[in-house]
């Protein structure tokens, strides 16, 4: 771009009859400098949100905020933190395991019609609204199983929501292992298993990992599936079949309380702050790994 700006030496050579061309070059220049300014429309909300969430959460953020349980109109976030951690751990284990298996199979073994169907299903599943997944969890895991509102029901529902992201990224990462690698391995006499475990897996692994992190970030920030399945309790979950609290729930339940009534809104902002920090760290991790991975792949090609 910088090289192109002293450009248009042509416009200095234009005669008075070249008004149309002058106009076209003028439009081009306006667009070149004006269009990137639209980024302000995205950056202003981003930084406004980050600023206000920090400004509302941090002044009263102490160790007690993390270490105590919610009580009445105040308290801390210990139970929601442990609840979110538990939910995400189980949900990541389920969706990670199933998603990686399914993605690997789709990319490496599945006959074309099966693969097409599986990818279509994965894409459609990614588009199912969180609230609909929540109702699914309510009917299947809360009512049908007679568990009632439980941590396990919440985690499984969450894993259904996270599954397509792991699956898609895993499918994509195994599919983008360069063909030469496969041919070279097989030509050298590798069995399919050796190829998969020793050649394809190491190449695809970092990218698969980004998919898992991404799914974790998405699952962490979800509220709707849990509202319908996990119930609520102000003390840490005592087992998989007991109710649990979670960070997004703190925000959703308390955002409307007036400031005069305890510090519930502040608590909600503190939960939101924790969520944003965790999610941003996960997202940055994803971008870093993805960047490394891309460079590694490029090294493979050159």
């Amino acid at each position: 771009m910088a090289a192109a700006t002293p450009s248009n030496p042509a416009s200095d050579l234009l005669g008075p009859a070249d008004g149309r061309l002058r106009y076209r070059l003028w439009v081009d220049r306006v667009v070149r400098w004006g269009l990137p300014l639209t980024f302000l429309l995205v950056l202003v909300p981003l930084f406004d949100l980050l600023y206000w969430v920090s400004a509302k959460a941090l002044p009263t953020f102490t160790w007690a905020t993390i270490s105590t349980n919610p009580v009445g109109f105040g308290g801390g976030l210990w139970a929601p933190i442990t609840g979110t951690f538990l939910l995400i751990t189980i949900a990541t284990a389920i969706s990670g395991g199933l998603g990686i298996l399914a993605g690997m199979y789709t990319a490496e073994f599945a006959p074309p019609p099966v693969a097409r169907l599986a990818r279509l299903a994965g894409n459609l599943l990614a588009g199912v609204p969180a609230i609909v997944v929540g109702y699914f969890g309510y009917f299947l895991l809360v009512l049908y199983t007679h568990w009632g509102f439980t941590t396990l029901a919440g985690a499984i529902t969450l894993s259904v929501f996270m599954l397509p992201y792991v699956y898609r990224v895993c499918d994509l990462s195994f599919s983008s292992v360069p063909r030469d690698q496969r041919e070279a391995a097989l030509a050298a006499g590798a069995t399919p298993r050796q190829y998969l475990l020793r050649v394809a897996f190491p190449i695809a692994f970092p990218s698969v990992l980004t998919g898992v992190f991404l799914a974790m970030a998405i699952g962490l920030g979800e509220t709707a599936p849990l509202v319908l399945t996990a119930g609520w309790s102000n003390s840490p979950s005592t087992g998989l079949l007991s109710t649990t609290s979670y960070l997004t729930g703190v925000v959703y339940q308390n955002y409307q309380f007036p400031d005069t009534l305890g510090h519930l809104v502040t608590l909600a902002f503190q939960a939101a702050f924790l969520l944003v920090v965790i999610v941003l760290v996960l997202n940055i991790l994803v971008q870093v790994i993805a960047g490394r991975y891309r460079r590694r792949l490029q090294g493979l090609f050159s």
Binding site: A107, V128, Y252
Partner: protein
């Protein structure tokens, strides 16, 4: 690449295949259920919804009535006003999609053609961060921070200058000052933009450079090449982004529920509240656990919502291909 290479898998009968390859062939078929895990999950979701509802309600007049009436004491007189919620969804999601598409076209074009690499990369990363912020955080930011500003400053300003436009001058029938259509559209727009931007950017980047060079060589300026050639070649990606963004906007429940107001009404102005199908599903879940009639109606809401989002996601895949940028993966830069 995606499948067993037939040349490898089916060797001539004369030379016996090594046992590893027999197992491999077996695996390709025995493992099929693995690939169908996403399909099973999708079917499970759909089945749970379909089998728990009262499908005949979808055909009855009280579902499609234009007034809402629900009193647990008189479930016989219930009327669900579904068209109003559908309208609320169409208004908020439609407007958000319009703004998000225009904005992300500008962003994607800047990223692919006008910004130097380092700056483009950092701006793209920042934009992607928006995709990662939980919807409930957008909701509380909208309700606590933006709504008072909207109610006290922005809306009076808009009204004083633009009251002559339809929907800009009407009454502010809002639950809390500042909440309503305008705020919901803004929040939804910010939430969808990273997704649509990433997809449009991908499809612009995939346009072969030979096509662009041909256009430039014919004397077109950069902008003319972008508008008349590059965008035209990449139009399927843009369409995919639009469908996907719409599906996402229609399905978003938490953030919208927190800022849209919650009234069952046709909003008389952009300063007024309304309710979307998704938001209604979230508002009512608590009481639905107690009243079967309400739950049945909500399940039908969920079913229609599911069908709408599946339809638009299907269109999106048709437009961008099965490996196309679908879901949030592309907004995360993958």
């Amino acid at each position: 690449m995606a499948t067993a290479d037939p040349a490898l898998a089916a060797s001539p009968p004369a030379s016996p295949t090594p046992p590893a390859w027999d197992r491999y062939k077996l695996l390709t078929w025995l493992g099929s259920p693995l690939a169908l895990i996403p399909l099973l999950a999708l079917l499970a979701v759909a089945l749970a919804i379909v089998s728990s509802g009262d499908l005949t309600l979808l055909l009855r007049g009280d579902f499609w009535s234009l007034t809402f009436n629900w009193n647990p004491l008189y479930p016989d007189q219930a009327a669900w006003a579904f068209p109003l919620y559908l309208l609320g969804t169409a208004i908020t999601a439609g407007l958000a999609l319009l703004f998000a598409t225009l904005l992300s076209l500008a962003l994607a074009i800047s990223l692919t053609a006008y910004l130097p690499g380092w700056l483009g990369r950092s701006l793209a990363t920042l934009t992607n961060l928006l995709a990662g912020i939980p919807s409930v955080v957008y909701g509380i930011w909208g309700y606590v921070v933006l709504a008072p500003y909207f109610g006290l400053t922005l809306q009076p300003t808009l009204r004083s200058y633009l009251a002559w436009l339809p929907f800009f001058g009407g009454p502010a029938a809002a639950a809390a000052p500042g909440t309503g259509v305008l705020l919901a559209v803004l929040i939804l727009t910010v939430m969808i933009v990273p997704l649509t931007t990433a997809i449009i950017r991908d499809s612009l980047a995939n346009v072969p450079s030979a096509v662009l060079e041909a256009s430039l060589a014919l004397g077109a300026t950069q902008w003319e090449t972008m508008r008349r050639v590059r965008l035209r070649v990449a139009r399927r990606g843009v369409m995919g982004a639009v469908f996907l963004g719409f599906g996402r906007a229609v399905g978003e429940s938490v953030a919208v529920a927190m800022v849209v107001g919650g009234q069952t009404q046709i909003p008389p102005s952009i300063y007024s509240g309304t309710t979307t199908v998704s938001a209604f599903l979230l508002y009512q879940q608590d009481s639905a656990f107690q009243y079967a009639a309400l739950l049945h109606a909500l399940v039908d809401f969920a079913l229609v919502l599911l069908l709408i989002t599946l339809f638009f996601n299907f269109l999106a895949q048709r437009a961008t291909g099965e490996r196309g940028a679908v879901g949030q993966t592309s907004a995360a830069g993958l």
